[in-house]
């Protein structure tokens, strides 16, 4: 296998990797700005410079020249090379800033140049704290500045489109945003205008940057030149906690970070996962956080009146016991996790009811073949794998009219708003509901409301449209104290939540709800069908062991990037 020597250490490589990516893959940090692994390589920031040498070849023998110790003589190229564009070759010798003064000086020089016309308004910049320029300037940059002139003035706070704001002066012209719209989203809505030091990216005349993926440029901008109009000035990065999770606006399950302060979700950013969404996230996923913060319930209700959780569980159990099992309609939910739906099927089975059905939420034409799907729910595939099929609306309505349905138990959905039943039709049937919001249109006819934790508050598994099973983790605290949730939040939290800025322990924005994997066993227990699970992890472990459709999908295996499940049967 070909070998390359980087800072005196020999590495083997396959194919034709570029030096920068190879170094990053092997834990060698090289400063860089313009390079992005998913896009073309312009080598314009000139920050990732390295020294590159090749063994000198004797012209007559065509063999490598050896020095008197028998080591090959290395001939270094006279100029420093950009590691991002440098192909590795067998026998190549590379010196990075760790062993070469020349490289370290060059990196420092480039940073000095980058900073002379950069505003240095970090104290008021949204990017501060996670800014590649800021971080790398501290690590590799010069101390102070030798620049004693007026900085270049460029347009500031320009709305490129409905979601992205430009500050031209902060831009370092890495062209990542332009390349993103050229090569990834293909909207070609951005271009560089002006020349030389007055360069900045903007939309061509008459064009609005309304690309449905426009906000990705905010993530990839290595400075604060492109910021989110939605998130601008809402919070500093060090005041927030973030949790790795997935978005739930559609069936793709794109990986994301939920950024939370005081138990309010303020921002959603992309999290790389090559198996699902690469580095990207649609704008609609990023802006879909208000529903986690607004119109949330304040605890369980019985017939619309506040109640304690125990009272509500008892009442629900009473309802279930009062009607024959086959008369109960169990509605699973493509919004709920695999674990919650699984518990529901177990409860239905224990009571002798039919297998639950779920209400599909499909919006034809919404999908784009990339990260948006027609299906607006995150877990239809998970339901299908559990044997939960979409409801047959005509049959269900006929049954309702015939009086065969004596009670409805609906998980995390809204049957009335979905048009499955009218409110009148449900008025005379006891309804048990796990709602997310107080605006749930089924609530007025609900007998027992057991508010459910949303994706940002729970632990669980979702299966995306491609059969990729992924875990979610709690990003914010609920009112209830739950050991599993605390443990899951715990990872990496003490330091983050130790910040005095994030009052996650305050009750102000803690929602009084419970994960369905807490409520369902409680109801089942009181109904006489105990489900002795210690938590969702154990539920999933059981599924992974017993159900081939979930084979291998344990929490340990899913980790942060999920597990691709074996395909079973036809897709829905």
């Amino acid at each position: 296998m070909p070998k390359v020597t980087i800072d005196h250490q020999v590495y083997e490589f396959e194919g034709r990797p570029k030096a920068l990516q190879f170094c990053l893959d092997h834990g060698i940090e090289l400063p860089h700005f313009c390079y992005h692994p998913a896009m073309s390589i312009p080598a314009n920031c000139r920050e990732c410079l390295i020294e590159v040498g090749m063994p000198a070849i004797d012209r007559e023998t065509r063999q490598p020249k050896l020095d008197k110790d028998g080591n090959p003589v290395i001939r270094f190229m006279p100029k420093l090379m950009t590691s991002c564009s440098q192909d590795l070759a067998d026998g190549m010798v590379i010196r990075t800033h760790r062993t070469s003064e020349k490289v370290a000086r060059a990196q420092q020089d480039t940073l000095e140049f980058l900073l002379i016309n950069h505003p240095l308004d970090c104290p008021i910049c949204d990017q501060a704290g996670h800014c590649p320029l800021q971080i790398q300037a501290y690590k590799y940059g010069p101390e102070g500045s030798r620049f004693e002139f007026r900085k270049v003035r460029k347009p500031k706070h320009i709305k490129l489109g409905p979601r992205v704001m430009l500050d031209g002066e902060r831009c370092i012209n890495c062209t990542r945003c332009v390349r993103f719209t050229d090569e990834i989203s293909k909207s070609r809505q951005l271009t560089i205008i002006e020349r030389g030091v007055r360069n900045y990216p903007i939309t061509p005349p008459g064009v609005t940057f309304d690309d449905p993926y426009s906000m990705n440029v905010i993530d990839i901008c290595p400075v604060g030149a492109l910021t989110s109009i939605d998130f601008r000035f809402k919070a500093r990065i060090w005041e927030m906690s973030s949790a790795p999770s997935i978005t739930t606006t559609n069936a793709k399950g794109s990986n994301c970070h939920y950024w939370v302060k005081d138990n309010l979700v303020l921002r959603i950013t992309a999290r790389p996962n090559a198996a699902v969404n690469d580095y990207w996230l649609p704008d609609e996923d990023r802006l879909d956080y208000h529903r986690f913060n607004e119109n949330r319930p304040d605890g369980p209700r019985i017939d619309g009146r506040p109640a304690t959780w125990d009272e509500a569980y008892a009442r629900a159990a009473e309802v279930l016991r009062s009607v024959p099992g086959e008369g109960i309609l169990f509605l699973g939910s493509a919004h709920a996790t695999v674990e919650d739906n699984y518990l529901l099927t177990k409860l239905a089975k224990a009571l002798g009811a039919d297998v639950p059905r779920y209400i599909p939420h499909v919006e034809p034409g919404h999908g784009d073949g990339w990260l948006r799907t027609d299906d607006r729910t995150p877990n239809a595939e998970g339901c299908r794998r559990l044997g939960i099929e979409p409801v047959d609306e005509a049959m269900i309505r006929a049954k309702m009219e015939a009086g065969e349905i004596k009670a409805v138990y609906a998980l995390e959905d809204d049957p009335v708003a979905a048009g499955l039943f009218s409110a009148e039709a449900l008025a005379n049937v006891p309804v048990i509901l796990h709602p997310y919001h107080t605006t749930n249109e089924t609530l007025p006819v609900t007998d027992v409301a057991l508010p459910a934790a949303m994706v940002v508050e729970t632990v669980g598994t979702y299966v995306n449209c491609d059969g990729h099973a992924q875990r979610v983790r709690p990003a914010k605290a609920i009112r209830d104290v739950n050991r599993t949730l605390v443990l899951e939040m715990d990872k990496g939290r003490p330091d983050k939540h130790g910040t005095p800025f994030d009052r996650w322990h305050h009750e102000d924005h803690q929602v009084n709800c419970r994960p369905s994997w807490v409520s369902l066993p409680a109801v089942a227990q009181k109904a006489g069908h105990p489900m002795p699970y210690k938590g969702p992890k154990y539920i999933m472990a059981e599924l992974a062991r017993t159900d081939p459709a979930f084979s291998g999908a344990t929490y340990e295996a899913m980790g942060l990037s999920g597990v691709r499940l074996e395909s079973v049967g036809e897709a829905v």
Binding site: N44, C45, L80, T82, S85, F113, N173, T191
Partner: protein, 439 residues
Amino acid sequence: MEATNGAPQTKAGDWRSYERVLLPPVRDLHKIDVYEQHGGYEALREALTSDRWDPKSVTDEVKASGLRGRGGAGFPTGLKWSFMPPVDPDVPRFLCCNGDESEPGTFKDRQLMEYNPHLVFEGMLLACYAISAKAGYLYVRGEYADWISHMERELENAYAKGYVGENIMGSGFSCELIIHKGAGAYICGEESSLMESLEGKRAYPRIKPPFPAQRGIWGYPTTINNVETLACVPLILRRGGAWYAKIGAQRHPGPVLYGISGHVNRPGVYEYPTGMLISDLIYEVAGGMRGGKKLKAVVPGGSSTPILRADMIDGVTMDAETLRDAGSMMGTGGMLVMDEDTDIVSWLRRVTHFYHHESCGQCTPCREGAGWLENIVTRIDEGEGRLRDLDLLIDLCSQMEGRTVCALADAAAWPVRYTVTRFRDEFEARCRPSLVAAG
């Protein structure tokens, strides 16, 4: 290089009796009839129809002539042509003729385009034949609007006579020539950004490798040559590579258009062999210094080439090797001459302004550094400079040189580096006296 008639001993030999070939003294030579009467398109006819020539032998003849690029870098032309990959009928190939002449002090290609356009066309067609390209682009800087319409008119005439287009002169060889008007930026003269510009994109230079011969215009194999370079090709074929190789300096042979500007009595474009003594060019060819003043400095090949003090030009001739040894470069042969009254700081200020204005802004060191250099030189010129600024200038040059995609950063840094080091006393005299003792 034998001297005759008491002519000075230069590599150019007996330059006084030199007969012009690129710009011969023929009235109305730009007209196709006149051009034909003086042997025009004969080399093309010969190359296309005679058994003596095939693409390889044309390339070999150019190699044998020792022709080196006239665009500034002086790369051997025949060698460049031989970098083109083997012909693949499915892969188009292109020739590009670089007429984006925009370096301050350089104005020779314009002269060729005005007075001998068909020589350029013939050279392009021969080059297309040699590299088996079916299309050649002539990229002319946008500011040369009059010359573009002039060239287009003459190209129409060449098409009408069947020298360009389908089945040229019944030889079976077809070639289109397209004149492309540049959009006005110095950077477009850089070969890879010229190709980007030609493709309708923003003229950002490309990373090399791949070189144009591997991936040029629209990603296809391309050869790019300067206007004057290609104009030499018909002459080489007409009179032989050996004839050409004997003209001027042995390792950098041929006729060259010297564009002499500045404080001389007769500025202009002069055709002479390479290897002319700089002093001959100034005092004999260009009629000596204006007003009989003393020479102060010479920039031999366009504003980016290192400046030479008057005391550095003794015996220095205009060819790549000699100029390199003297501490400068041949560049484009656009010679700037400055007399003793020249304010060298002001001159440098103007030059740095040019490179600041023309840096394309792709690479950090050039984008930021070119402006910074101008800032500092301006401050010195206005009497507000500090002595430490001089060292900072040299430092910034080191931070720019060789660290960018194309050579514009070098072009911006060299004038500063060499002007400051070679005229340091003048810069120091301009700086504000230091309050803190040096050391």
